[in-house]
């Protein structure tokens, strides 16, 4: 359960964004969370709710989560593979039998913030 540490990092990044943009409070933030980022979204939201109470500038903030599925590419033939479920991950190109490179699915980013 490292989502406590991740939620704390979210709060630190939000604090920087607030300061850099002259905001007083943050009302919502949109996060991209990749399927193989290693973060469980419910646990992250739970941890964020707990930290919110301690930090005045995010006391009314909500987190919107965009789930990012794994997308991988063959380095040889450029074929793209989309995996809707991490159970099905096979990182080998069916055409070339070569390893795939992950292009999406590891994200752990804040992409959009609203505040006042």
């Amino acid at each position: 359960m490292h989502e406590g540490a991740i939620a704390q990092s979210v709060v630190e990044v939000l604090r920087d964004i607030k300061d850099q943009n002259g905001l007083l409070s943050i009302t919502s933030a949109t996060l991209k969370v990749g399927a193989v980022s290693g973060v469980m979204i419910d646990a992250l939201l739970f941890a964020f709710e707990a930290i919110k109470k301690e930090e005045a500038f995010i006391k009314d903030a909500t987190l919107n989560i965009i789930n990012v599925n794994v997308k991988a590419k063959c380095n040889i033939c450029n074929k793209i593979y989309d995996f809707d479920n991490t159970d099905d991950l096979v990182m080998i190109c069916t055409e070339c039998q070569m390893p795939l490179t992950i292009i999406n699915g590891k994200e752990l980013e804040i992409i959009d913030v609203e505040g006042e």
Partner: protein, 219 residues
């Protein structure tokens, strides 16, 4: 109401410090290895065996992460190398700032720095520590179904060691299934089948470490 479009990595601060660690390792030509597994998979025993073999030829230090006690660092330092214990007091992984603080206590006249992460197959995978390579252990009594249950961890592995091979037959461990699942999830990862406690099968892995020590040294 103001909308700010940003694109900020949540773990940016961790990554920044990890990059500083990486620069420090590169500058001092030290190969950094992050060792991860569940508790009890045999990380400390494996590190003891590595140190015994490589100590006559190379300068080695270890950083040991655990929630509590100095036990692992004491085991490693008993072999005559420097070992610093990090107690995370509840935190389930090492982050780069913890490692950076530990490095203040270590002489950097080294060839190899081994970081023994907190025993956990989930959380340590999310935190880059600045090491050159990640070694992930799985031990046979944990069961042969673990690889696909922990895709993030096996995805970040550069090498996977299947440990406790000496008892695989007693715990119904299907080695072929595990090897196939590792290859599916991470075809670039090298696989080593070992028994650290019995000191069996370790030579190819130790050769791999030596190759990496020399790669970093001769860069």
């Amino acid at each position: 109401m103001k909308r700010v479009v940003v694109e900020k990595k949540i773990l940016e601060k961790n990554d920044d410090i990890a990059n500083q660690i990486r620069n420090l390792l590169d500058k001092n030509r030290i190969f950094g290895l992050n060792v991860m597994s569940s508790p009890g998979a045999g990380k400390t025993t494996l590190i003891e065996q590595i140190v015994k073999v490589l100590k006559p030829k190379y300068k080695i230090a270890a950083v040991d992460g655990d929630l509590d006690t100095q036990r692992d660092a004491l085991r490693i330092s008993a072999l005559g190398i420097e070992a610093v214990q990090i107690n995370t007091s509840g935190t389930c992984h090492l982050d780069s700032s913890m490692v950076q603080k530990a490095l203040d206590h270590i002489s950097l006249d080294l060839d190899l720095l081994i970081i023994e992460n907190v025993g956990n197959l989930v959380c340590p995978a999310s935190f880059y520590l600045g090491t050159h390579k990640n070694a992930v252990l799985i031990s046979t009594p944990e069961g042969d179904d673990k690889v696909k249950k922990y895709p993030t961890m096996f995805n970040v592995a550069d090498v996977v060691l299947i440990n406790k091979m000496d008892i695989a037959q007693f715990v119904n461990f299907d080695i072929e299934k595990v090897e196939n699942e590792i290859k599916e999830l991470n075809p670039n990862a090298r696989i080593f089948k070992v028994s650290a406690l019995k000191n069996e099968g370790l030579k190819p892995f130790i050769d791999w470490i030596e190759t990496n020590i020399n790669l970093v040294k001769n860069r």
